[in-house]
């Protein structure tokens, strides 16, 4: 009971607290804020207690426990850092246990770095350096060095401190213990002064890369890398050390060595280095490339991944070495053999295809001399071939990535690597396959596809994964084709693809569009056969709704834009279809075809350019808004404005968002006026008829839409929207109080909170308050007690007297919207599933101008009006090229009990804009539909007994 009382008292207290705060803030800019400063609990007493325990500790176990507890305290809980450090160091000098002393050092470092004060840093560094000189235990010395290096780094490279620390670490680089030496190396790497001249320290570190202990070698290499990262130019002599590290027995050393070789090659690519076992020289970058390629055959996966990754950034490598990476001499029984890729290539070059029988086709050719064959891979030979065949997907994807990276810079290499990338479509891991598709589209523009390669690539169109197929469509749209036959093959296969996977329609259209635009000359000879144009007979007109025919049309139309002669080949039907397509698929068809320019101009009465038309429309919009803003504009005039705006939104896609915004706003204006003009409203006390409540609900939805669906609002427009919303809340509050249907407490609080927030925001932003808000603030100020009823009495006359201010709209807006491609409206053939179980309906849609995808939900409404919200997975959203646009591909799960016959579920995409903690609206009311719902017929059927 006591607990409940206490709780209540607390609630009371905090409640009145907020109200006073409100009063003050509502009073104007001179806000006095009551701030509750939380008292930190028992400052430093805890730390003090632990310290005392530590000092009294008899066993090392106790000390360690105390130290651990100290380390867990937050920095704020330790006040006198200097004093604590001093006491800790006393413990350090007294205790003999290595573990305790290490822990002390760690803690000192932690405390000092958390405090972050220069003075502490310097003094602690001094003390630790002194300790280091006396220290005999190697692990303590190591810990000490690492603490020092942290402190040195924290000091931000202060020269004097760094120099002292470096001087302390330098002789320890040759310490017998790896702990000391490795940490000394790390410290040198972090704190050595960055000077343009190579120093002795570099030589020393170079020597340490040959140290006895692998950990020291690794640390020395890492230190060199750190130095490079800090901008120090590492000299040439280190290259030999780095290369030697590649042959180390330990993988961490090899890995660090690889990175160092890479870094050196990147800094001085053109330097010449002598070739091993000969008197020739090669460019440093080529030599390094060879070394890194060798590491692709390393024993350790980590090293292989590293090598494969590094290769991609070695863009300066010469073509000769690069092309070797794809080269693998094959032989069978001592006879030279050609690889599958080579065989295909020669077939095409010869101009004939193999006939049927392939056995023996790969029969080995000439005899090889035993001494000409080299089995040891030297240099770059076949590095990528091995990398792509590796057991581990990490290596394979890294190799693929690097190969693509290099291919985008070397066109010839791109052509060579194509075969290998296509091979990767067959990888067992889907991730790698997708990456291969990506790679292909990245190098798409660089290559001209040969017929045999095309054949291989097109075979992949059969693949089930839609990502792979779409990637391939993108790539085919980008790449260049060699001849008409290739194009024909391509068209055939793509149409087959369409037949097999109709859902690829849009991606295929885009592909055909780009393919047509890129190859006008290749399309020209194919036009008659593609469009079935016969010289003598008139063939039936094709169905312009047929997606396959649209594909062909897109190909031809886009090609025709670049080839004037093509127009003569087309018949009237085709030309009409073009006009149709221009309207239905505006983005995919050229604005005008060469021959049609005159005709189109004649057809359109106003000889206006598109730009002029746009200006016209914008002007019209403004004129409508001016009309609506006229002081005497009555209800009828506003209605007319709304109609104009709605029509404008339909006609002009560019202005659609603005027109809809304006229309919605005017709608709000109208509704608001309608409510306040109602007789029952004016009558005052009693609750109005239900229609007022309905209007209020509609207003709620409309204002939410204005607030959340449109983006790109200017500050004053935003303010108008928010104040409209506040007005709506006021309206609802009044209705609620008058209705006496339930407690208005929650709504009242919400309203107050909103009013206060908005007012503060507007004042901060320097925006003027509109008349309603102004009056509202003043009215509230005058109130003694902010009860809902009292507020309602203040608000009601304000709502009636002050009309909604007219809209001024200047900024170009965007409107969040969604287009559902899949599932399509389907009410004829219901999808059947067993009742009580789940049916997955694949959903494919595009979201535009959605700033926050985490708000997107899928709404499924069943015929019994029950609705479910489905939260799509974050990974199902794929960003599109435009900003804030996404492709959402996911599965909507539908389930229901038995129905006697089929029914329709409605699927739609909505935004859930629920404000956390607000209990005023129902869950349903927070949803903003982004598109019309799609109806899908489903039929849950009873479980058949004999099945189970």
């Amino acid at each position: 009971m006591a607990a409940v009382l206490k709780k209540r008292a607390l609630a009371e207290y905090s409640h009145s607290q907020t109200v006073t705060a409100d009063q003050e803030s509502a009073a104007g800019p001179s806000v006095k804020k009551v701030r509750l400063t939380r008292r930190s609990e028992q400052p430093s007493t805890q730390a003090e207690g632990y310290l005392q325990i530590l000092q009294r500790a008899k066993t090392s176990r106790e000390s360690l426990q105390a130290l651990t507890s100290l380390a867990e305290l937050s920095p704020a809980q330790v006040e006198d850092v200097g004093g604590v450090v001093r006491r800790l160091l006393e413990v350090f000098s007294r205790d003999q246990e290595t573990a305790v002393r290490c822990a002390v050092l760690r803690l000192v470092q932690q405390l000092v770095s958390a405090a972050g004060e220069r003075a502490h840093l310097a003094s602690a560094a001094d003390e630790l350096t002194a300790l280091l000189e006396r220290e005999t235990s190697s692990s303590v010395a190591g810990q000490c060095l690492s603490a020092l290096s942290e402190l040195g780094a924290l000091s931000g490279g202060e020269a004097r401190l760094s120099a002292r620390l470096v001087a302390a670490a330098r002789p320890r680089l040759s310490h017998a213990s790896h702990q000391v030496a490795a940490r000394a190396a790390a410290l040198l790497g972090r704190l050595l002064p960055v000077s343009p001249q190579p120093t002795d320290d570099l030589t020393q570190l170079g020597e340490a890369t040959r140290a006895q202990d692998p950990r020291v070698r690794c640390a020395a290499l890492q230190a060199l890398l750190t130095l490079h990262g800090r901008g120090l130019s590492l000299g040439g002599p280190l290259y030999a050390d780095a290369v030697a590290a590649l042959r180390d027995d330990y993988e961490s050393v090899r890995e660090a060595g690889l990175q160092l070789v890479h870094v050196l090659a990147q800094t001085a690519p053109e330097r010449l280095v002598p070739l091993a076992e000969s008197d020739q020289t090669v460019r440093l970058v080529d030599d390094a490339f060879g070394h890194i390629c060798n590491a692709i055959n390393d024993l350790s996966v980590r090293v292989r991944v590293r090598a494969a990754t590094l290769l991609g950034s070695m863009t300066a490598v010469s073509t000769k070495f690069l092309e070797q990476t794809l080269d693998k001499k094959l032989m069978s029984n001592m006879r030279r053999k050609r690889s599958g890729h080579e065989r295909l290539r020669t077939l095409v070059v010869r101009g004939e295809w193999s006939s049927g029988k392939k056995w023996g086709d790969d029969a080995p050719k000439e005899q090889l001399q035993a001494d000409t064959v080299s089995l040891m891979s030297s240099g770059a030979c076949g590095a990528f071939v091995h990398g792509l065949e590796d057991e581990f997907l990490e290596v394979r994807s890294a190799a693929l990535e690097s190969m693509t990276e290099l291919a985008t810079l070397h066109p010839h290499f791109a052509e060579m690597s194509l075969d290998f990338i296509v091979d990767m479509f067959n990888d067992e891991i889907a991730e790698v396959r997708l990456r291969a598709v990506d790679s292909l589209s990245r190098i798409g523009q660089m290559i001209t596809l040969r017929e045999d390669q095309l054949d291989e690539i097109l075979a992949v169109l059969e693949v089930y994964s839609i990502d792979t197929r779409e990637g391939l469509h993108r790539m085919l749209g980008d790449c260049r084709l060699g001849n008409t036959d290739s194009l024909k093959l391509c068209v055939e296969k793509l149409l087959k693809n369409l037949k097999r996977y109709p859902q690829d329609k849009r991606s295929l259209w885009r592909c055909f569009q780009r393919m047509g635009a890129a190859h006008p000359d290749l399309v020209l000879p194919l036009v008659p056969s593609l469009l079935h144009i016969h010289p003598y007979f008139q063939l039936p007109e094709q169905d312009v709704q047929d997606p396959a025919y649209v594909c062909i049309l897109l190909l031809v139309m886009n090609a025709a834009a670049g080839s004037p002669t093509m127009m003569a080949l087309l018949d009237d039907n085709t030309r009409r279809h073009f006009l149709y397509l221009r309207d239905t698929l505006p983005g995919m068809v050229p604005d005008r075809l060469p021959g049609q320019a005159a005709a189109a101009a004649a057809a359109a009465p106003s000889p206006s350019t598109p730009a002029a038309a746009r200006d016209n429309a914008a002007e019209f919009l403004q004129s409508v808004l001016r009309r609506a803003a006229e002081p005497g504009a009555g209800r009828a005039a506003l209605e007319q404005c709304r109609r104009d705006l709605d029509r404008l939104a339909q006609i002009d896609s560019a202005l659609s968002a603005r027109a809809q915004f304006a229309s919605t706003y005017i709608h709000c204006q109208l509704l608001m006026a309608q409510v306040t003009g109602d007789a029952s409203w004016r009558a005052g006390t009693a609750a109005g008829p239900a229609r007022l409540q309905t209007s209020a609900d509609t207003l709620t939805a409309l204002t939410l839409r204005l607030q959340h669906r449109f983006s790109g609002l200017e500050a004053d427009e935003w303010a108008a929207v928010r104040q409209l919303r506040l007005r709506l809340l006021a309206l609802r509050l009044v209705l609620q109080v008058r209705g006496r249907t339930g407690s208005a407490l929650a709504l009242g609080e919400h309203f107050l909170e909103q009013a206060q927030q908005l007012e503060r925001h507007l004042v901060d932003g320097g925006q003027p308050l509109d008349a309603f808000t102004e009056a509202l603030v003043r009215g509230l100020e005058a109130l003694e007690e902010r009860k809902a009823g009292a507020m309602a009495r203040v608000l009601a006359p304000l709502l009636t007297d002050i009309p909604v201010p007219p809209l001024r709209l200047r900024s170009p807006l965007t409107q969040a919207e969604a287009v559902i491609f899949e599932p399509r409206q389907e009410t004829e053939h219901p999808q059947k599933f067993t009742a009580g179980l789940v049916l997955g309906i694949p959903l494919d849609c595009e979201l535009r101008h959605v700033s926050d995808v985490s708000q997107v939900r899928l709404r499924v409404q069943y015929p019994d009006q029950r609705a479910q919200l489905v939260l799509p997975r974050a990974t199902d959203f794929r960003p599109l090229d435009e900003p804030a646009s996404y492709r959402l591909r996911t599965t909507v799960l539908v389930s229901h009990q038995v129905w006697s016959e089929d029914g329709e579920v409605e699927i739609s995409v909505v935004l859930d804009v629920k404000e956390p903690g607000c209990k005023v609206l129902r869950q349903e009311d927070w949803l903003i539909a982004l598109c019309d719902a799609v109806r899908v017929a489903v039929q849950p059927r009873a479980v058949r007994r004999n099945v189970i």
Binding site: S332, M334, S339, E389, E391, D423, E456
Partner: protein, 598 residues
């Protein structure tokens, strides 16, 4: 000198009947115990009488089996049950599980089909008894066979459970690879071994003269062909051996079917495969990354698209793909299906492996358009497309070289390959890796001499004195050989390195001191003490560490310098004396004094 003796009883310059005897550090170890599939007489088993007549147990210390293929384990029941061996046998867990299935199958075929007398062949009971004697080992698990022999298995990737074995006796060691594969495939990873630097690496060399194309290219090829064939309504027949490659092909087709959403049925003729497949499902740790990663969701060996085959399906219309054994089309189901489907040109035959001369498979692969059958006497027209595809899981020449590089052995021996191919690889190993390479024939003994290592005890103080890095001499910490100054003492079978003083003390010998003394005549008028001072400052300048007390001699380390003569004489005699340890210093001082006036 210690040596390792190796005698192949099978697989020496040959493929089949792998059986290699190794004598190492006084222990005899048998690596693999296989049978030859090409022979039906006594040549099919290794000649165990070479080892000993009667019981082998006292002559052999252990037997190691690398994997379950019959040419590596086929003679095991014969050896243990009929010849008599009851010592330890080692193999990996999957091998122990699958080998008896294959042995039993082989026994059935030999006894029931070929009508061999059951007295000369082992019985099912014998297979069971034999497997009871086997100890199973895990990857990278070090097993102590007896107090001296230590074996360790590494992943070989040839078939499920295939392993390479590292055998160590004392300080000598041998690695036996068995069969291995360096390129990973759809269900197995690549062979892996650490840098264990054995004295001898015994490696297979099946593809000694081949460098293969990338496997992706091959896979893509075969999948495209199959797809085209079923798309035009044809039937595809793939004759396979029951284990190993069959699973590989199944996974390949299964994942392709999955990927392209094909609905054409794929069948697999049952038999011993079903039992073996269960083991494949169980030994997930022995497969590759993909299967290991995904088996929690779905075990890749639980095929979704591949269903068991029934003989009646043969007549079904429409496209289908059928895996049927045996692999060379010499008998059984695969031959029956072939007879039925061969005349239709829409159909296709894919041979995933080599075929022995004389089998139908071999004829068809060589382009025979008509195949005659006896009993009943018929002629079948071959109109179906015939494809060959190599899907063998052996390392190619590059792979072998790579393994040698990974392993870093001191000697290499080639087995399990054709003699003339070995010659090539042997020359390459000698040229490019500069290692000694052997390729003994069956029954030929190779002797590999190893460098003995002799362990000696050194006292810690001596080690510390000589190996502790000295700050002044900067490069001592660099990894390189170091000289240790001491005396080697051999007492009984104990070898020790001692400090020379300690050695003297222990032996009760007083040390002789050898000093060199030389006299230099200096022309320097004036008192002797001045000459001494002059010399002192001179040396002080050069060496910086001289010691001089009053009139006495100048000490520089063990070097003594004394000046004799009287104050009046112009010529003074400087006597320099040094021990032989400080020869360099002494000579330097002597020279420096001689040239003092220059």
């Amino acid at each position: 000198m210690p040596e390792i003796k190796v005698t192949p009883l099978g697989a020496g310059q040959d493929v089949g009947r792998s059986c290699i005897l190794v004598s190492i550090g006084g222990k005899n170890i048998m690596l693999d115990c296989g049978m030859h599939m090409g022979h039906n007489d006594e040549r099919r088993f290794p000649d165990f009488s070479y080892i000993a007549d009667g019981s082998l147990t006292e002559h052999l210390d252990c037997v190691i089996i690398s994997h379950f293929h019959l040419d590596h384990c086929g003679a095991l029941p014969f050896m243990t049950e009929m010849v008599g061996y009851s010592g330890p046998i080692y193999m990996t867990y999957p091998t122990k599980a699958i080998a008896p299935i294959l042995l039993e199958d082989m026994r059935k075929v030999a006894v029931e089909r070929k009508g061999e007398s059951s007295t000369s062949f082992f019985t099912s009971q014998m297979v069971k008894e034999c497997m009871k004697k086997v100890t199973a080992v895990n990857l990278h698990q070090t097993v102590q066979v007896d107090s001296e022999i230590e074996i360790k298995a590494y992943y070989a990737g040839h078939v499920l459970g295939a392993a390479m074995f590292h055998v160590r006796v004392g300080d000598q060691s041998v690695v036996y690879t068995g069969d291995y594969n360096m390129t990973p495939d759809r269900h197995l990873g690549a062979a892996w071994i650490d840098k264990c630097c054995p004295d001898l690496l015994i490696t297979e060399s099946t593809y000694a003269t081949t460098i293969r194309d990338s496997k992706r290219c091959r896979e893509r090829d075969i999948l495209k062909k199959v797809h085209e064939c079923v798309e035009r309504g044809g039937k595809v027949l793939i004759p396979v051996f029951a284990l190993g490659r069959a699973q590989e092909l199944c996974i390949l087709l299964e994942s392709y079917w999955e990927r392209t959403n094909l609905k054409v049925p794929v069948y697999f003729s049952l038999g011993l495969t079903e039992k073996a497949n269960n083991y494949y499902k169980m030994f997930i740790t022995w497969t590759n990354q993909k299967i290991k990663k995904t088996f929690v969701e779905r075990n890749m060996f639980e095929f979704k698209h591949i269903k068991p085959f029934d003989k009646s399906y043969m007549e079904n219309p429409g496209p289908m793909v059928v895996f049927a054994s045996p692999g060379m089309l010499h008998a059984g189901l695969s031959l029956n299906i072939f007879k039925r489907w061969a005349p239709d040109e829409k159909n296709m035959l894919i041979m995933p492996g080599y075929c022995v001369v004389g089998t139908v498979g071999h004829k068809v692969l060589n382009g025979a358009k008509k195949v005659e059958f006896e009993n009943p006497r018929t002629v079948v027209d071959v109109r179906m497309a015939v494809e060959y595809m190599s899907f063998s899981a052996h390392a190619d020449a590059k792979g072998i070289m790579q393994l040698i590089q990974y392993c870093q052995p001191k000697n290499v021996m080639l087995v399990h390959g054709d003699a003339e191919k070995m010659v090539f690889l042997k020359s390459k190993i000698q040229q490019e890796l500069s290692l000694d390479c052997f390729n003994p024939a069956n029954g030929e003994t190779c002797t590999i001499v190893t460098k003995p290592t002799i362990a000696a005890d050194v006292s810690l103080s001596l080690l510390k004195r000589d190996l502790q890095p000295v700050a002044e001499i900067g490069d001592l910490r660099v990894k390189r050989r170091k000289l240790l100054h001491g005396v080697l003492m051999v007492k009984g079978n104990k070898v020790r390195v001692l400090d020379s003083d300690a050695a003297c003390a222990e032996l009760g010998v007083t040390r002789h001191e050898i000093r060199f003394t030389s006299t230099v005549t200096l022309e320097d008028p004036g008192p002797v003490s001045r000459t001494i001072d002059k010399l002192h400052t001179h040396l002080q300048k050069r060496l910086g560490i001289t010691q001089h007390l009053g009139d006495g001699p100048i000490n520089i380390g063990s070097v003594l310098l004394q000046v004799s003569g009287s104050d009046q004489e112009d010529l003074k005699e400087a006597i320099v004396s040094w021990t032989y340890q400080d020869d360099a210093l002494g000579s330097y001082i002597l020279n420096s004094i001689k040239n003092i006036d220059r």
